[in-house]
Symmetry: C2
Subunit: 197 residues, 2 copies
DNA sequence: CGAATTCTGCACCGATTGATGTAAAAAGGA
DNA sequence: TCCTTTTTACATCAATCGGTGCAGAATTCG
């Protein structure tokens, strides 16, 4: 009944996500974006309304995939809780190593966006807060599990420990963007595990 | 012999520092800056060459004052090393609490700049790396001290522990910008101390 | 009081920003 | 095949960006 789209929406969102991830929101122009996407601006505006809406879609996609990945690791009851958390750190290390460009990591889109926009854009701030909460819940559950089974010795409140692990992960992202190498970031994770045992 | 300046250079640098701190480098326009400074653009360009040079001066000023503060705490040999690190965390908490605006912290200019520019501006990346190294050295020394005196039980390499503490601090900044309250951030710091004892 | 020199205020520059309008192109339904 | 509908390509918009040029104001030195 009408002319069909020449692009796949999910594929466009993936590319947009990577572009925003690498360059940030403000310093990614819609022209840069369209060049990366191989699309005309009118097509993008027609499909995604405006830059901010497109970013929110890309951010949502990032959180849906990445956080789901992390939650899957944390909810795997076949492993002792402490091993699940170790696996979570390993996952962070692995993606951070894979995304390194000229000695600097890309960090994580949610952390990057928290720094750039959370204080200035309440709606995006809320999206990020919800995503953090989702990860905290999963982390807390795993930690409570580990405390019960004895493989996590710390008697601190599971939610506090979860916030700690989350903060360390953010710190690892910052270190990666500052140019820290794999071994350094791995050592940060290993040391953080000491606080749980 | 010539018309004198109508402003104090250090005072201007302080205001510029705060403006960049609150809004980031890219999204602080030279016009915003000049309004905050109460100066005309030509005066600023005349005194500081261009926006990037002004930012570098402001960043240097921030690092000189803030890092010096932290180093002073860490080098105070009248306290046991573990207490010095506790005092360092307390200092972070205090400034983070003081700088909160509508529920979001300002974080730290060096962390913010690392996220925004370190990967894209090698010279600024180097300035940040040097500042980090300076803090790591002071941290390492204090930690080595604590290991010798027995108040730090962890047998990990002091440099590794220093990087860990540094990463946790960065994580606390991120949490603050994400809207975490004082108690949450304090708990992160307290948990990090567990990894040292 | 001039002369020399620097700083300030204002206008202006080209480039780039996010966003829109318009007309042709591409498909399906009758 | 023609009509309807959506997408596409291209031009263009006002606003803002960092940066500059220039004339006048303000100061010290002679």
């Amino acid at each position: 009944m009408a002319r069909p789209r020449s692009f796949d929406e999910d594929q466009v969102l993936d590319t947009a996500m990577c572009t925003f991830w690498a360059n940030g929101y403000e310093s990614t122009s819609t022209r840069d974006l369209c060049q990366a996407l191989g699309l005309d601006r009118s097509s993008v505006y027609n499909a995604f309304t405006n830059k901010r809406e497109l970013f929110k879609r890309a951010l949502t996609r990032y959180m849906d995939t990445t956080t789901a990945d992390q939650v899957r690791i944390l909810d795997n009851h076949e492993l002792p809780a402490i091993e699940r958390i170790r696996a979570l750190f390993a996952k962070i290390l692995q993606t951070e190593a894979a995304n390194r460009r000229d000695g600097h990591g890309l960090g994580c889109l949610t952390v990057n966006t928290t720094m750039e926009l959370a204080g200035r854009d309440p709606e995006i701030g809320l999206m990020l807060a919800r995503d953090t909460e989702r990860r905290i819940i999963s982390l807390s559950a795993a930690i409570r599990c580990g405390q019960r089974d004895g493989d996590i010795g710390s008697t601190r409140d599971p939610a506090e420990l979860a916030r700690f692990v989350n903060a360390v992960i953010a710190g690892m992202r910052v270190a990666a963007q500052g140019g820290a190498d794999d071994a350094t970031i791995a050592a940060i994770a290993a040391t953080a595990m000491d606080a749980l045992a």
